[in-house]
């Protein structure tokens, strides 16, 4: 059997990769791709904890399904914002969206 630690390490690695993408990418859509990786890492943890504790308690799976809804909401609004910004400023590079800085 695969011990729980493997799944947790796997999820942590995926989370770190997503974090790296969020921190370093210049394109706003690429940043959202990184956020997706992080959300998936969280979901792996939730499902793994469900499987490795009491399987009759469905809380882990319910939370995972709710994370799907959150991810969908995040993506739809996030990408809508990116498209809206693109139409006004003609760029999706996050560094150049600095209007609020001064």
């Amino acid at each position: 059997m695969v011990p729980l630690s493997w799944y947790l390490m796997f999820a942590a690695a995926l989370f770190s990769i997503g974090l790296f993408g969020v921190l370093t990418r210049r394109n706003a859509i690429a940043i959202l791709l990184g956020v997706e990786l992080m959300l998936n890492a969280v979901n792996i943890n939730l499902v793994a904890f469900w499987r490795y504790s009491d399987v009759m308690a469905m809380a882990g799976q319910v939370f995972a399904v709710i994370v799907f809804a959150v991810a969908a909401a995040e993506v739809s609004v996030g990408l809508a914002l990116v498209i809206s910004v693109y139409r006004r400023r003609n760029t999706v590079v996050a560094d150049e969206l600095d209007m609020l800085k001064w």
Partner: protein, 173 residues
């Protein structure tokens, strides 16, 4: 190593490799396609965890809808899809450092936890995960409120996204 461990290792390596491609590829459509590959790997991980419903939903929602939305968005925000200029900001090494530190910190914290090396129990016979999930989502003692709130969340996302992206007044033309 048992067969299951080998399968897990292959799946994890494949998923993490695809994940690395997502954050490093220059072409954004390729990055989105690598994301699909990563998400498929995660779906296989769910299947290994006996979460059939979550695994299939992962493919339906992420690959069938979210990835398509990403590809559409990439094509909507590029007059010229060939990416010019660097794709990472100049502090990428700091980002890499933070990511490695976060991974090390998580690994350190988790390894100190008592349940870290737990082994999963066998699934009970006649285990009906979807029935249990349906009961959990609709029972007032369990998660009926999150169930309805999810609907409100999706409504808010739909209305907000439609308003933000396509409000006629927000167009500069």
């Amino acid at each position: 190593m048992t067969a299951q461990q080998i399968i897990f290792m292959i799946v994890a390596a494949y998923t993490i490799g695809s994940g690395l491609m997502v954050v490093t590829t220059r072409n954004l459509v390729h990055a989105a396609l690598w994301l699909v590959s990563t998400l498929f790997g995660v779906a296989v991980a769910y299947a290994l965890l006996n979460a059939n419903f979550i695994a299939v939903v992962q493919v339906v929602v992420y690959i069938g809808a979210i990835a398509i939305l990403f590809i559409f968005a990439v094509m909507l925000t590029r007059k010229d899809m060939r990416d010019s200029g660097p794709q990472m900001n100049k502090n990428w090494w700091a980002g890499a450092l933070v990511a490695v530190l976060v991974f090390a910190g998580l690994a350190f914290l988790l390894s100190g936890w008592s349940g870290f090396r737990n082994i999963a129990a066998e699934l009970p016979a006649e285990f009906d995960a979807i029935g249990l999930l349906g009961e959990a989502l609709t029972s007032p003692e369990a998660f009926v409120l999150p169930f309805e709130v999810a609907s409100v969340l999706l409504l808010a996302a739909l209305v907000g996204a439609v308003y933000v992206a396509f409000n006629p007044r927000s167009d500069k033309k």
